[in-house]
Symmetry: C2
Subunit: 211 residues, 2 copies
């Protein structure tokens, strides 16, 4: 299903495309059980989980990572996800869509181009819409991901941290931990200038900001 | 108050010193309100929180960081902590003890020396005791910290991840994200060889491992 959200601002009419693959709870096919991989060490003989690249917990019910692939599905099942917040413009792979469908996970796609410096232009409106989806408790637990979990995901999480009233140094520290050698000044400038005041009225129940 | 836990193993009798500053809920003095710092940007006029260096959420009710200092206290208050798992042998600073007392936070100290390679000798028994304290839901929400939140904290979190059945690559990926240029082969070897089988019987209610 495609949702087209139209925004008016600064005399311009911009269209933000948000693709939502709806949860089909009542007609769910039987959940495919993905198995963790066998532990090759002879000491335990147990199976292991493979979290996606750059996986981390952001806050209660909010996770982040790079692009999850088939080997990560068993791990993702342990998170009990309700939604995926996908930040790339490319179509979601068929295998991932199947995984989402069979686990009743909704897909929110916010297509942000993965530009390289100095031609980076992070679309503020799209980040705003994505942040709204992240803050909606009905979508949690959720996983935010782009391709490598560094730039687009880093910017969105950084904006969330600003809303949690983290000082910029800590926002950048976290961003750089994931982006490492690929950290971008333009991303950090975007986060610095991102105005969170319009989100202040929203109810937030994070562990990192009791209010 | 000092607790001395005696362990027998391999014919040797080892003593592990665990310092516990007990929560004094009934006789609590009035909670000191630590204020976040003023935001210098004129756009919001709001106050900001300063998370400790290398702060992150590990899982539900489990946080990690470097050594928290006075400027971080307002932020720490938002976490609603019940305990601190402190991994250095040095006495806890007076200001931090006061903060803990006035917020009813219990201190568990597991004194692990901060050695440098190639003379690293991570005491397995102490990590085991610390992991037990971390897993005890009565102590959560809790903050694990050492000095910089890289090596001692990284090893303890890595052992927790093994218990959560993360594959070693992901355990190391997370360790290296925090240790960065200071990552140690000896720490990684310790995590690889750490046997979690004795913890398997404990009830665990993490989001990253539903079982």
């Amino acid at each position: 299903m495609k949702l087209h959200t139209v925004h008016e601002g600064g005399g311009l009419c911009r269209t933000i495309e948000v693709t939502v693959v709806q949860r089909q709870a009542p007609q769910l096919p039987p959940v495919t059980k993905f198995s963790p991989v066998a532990d090759e060490s002879e000491t335990t003989g147990e199976e292991l989980y493979i979290p996606p690249l750059n996986f981390a917990m952001v806050d209660n019910g909010i996770f982040r990572s790079g692009f999850p692939d088939y080997p990560n599905f068993a791990f993702l099942q342990t998170l009990g996800l309700r939604s995926i917040i996908y930040l790339c413009p490319e179509p979601y792979p068929e295998a991932n869509i199947e995984f989402l469908k069979s686990n009743g996970i909704e897909l929110f796609q916010f297509g942000i181009e993965g530009c390289k410096e100095p031609f980076v232009n992070i679309p503020e409106d799209t980040i705003r819409e994505a942040l709204k989806a992240v803050l909606d408790v009905r979508n949690q637990p959720l996983l935010i991901h782009c391709k490598r979990g560094k730039h687009r995901t880093g910017c969105l999480v950084g904006c969330l941290r600003k809303l949690q009233r983290w000082c910029l140094t800590s926002v950048f520290d976290e961003y750089q931990r994931f982006a490492a050698a690929k950290a971008r000044v333009s991303d950090q400038r975007f986060m610095e200038l991102f105005d969170v005041s319009s989100f202040r009225h929203l109810p937030i129940s994070f562990s990192c900001l009791k209010r």
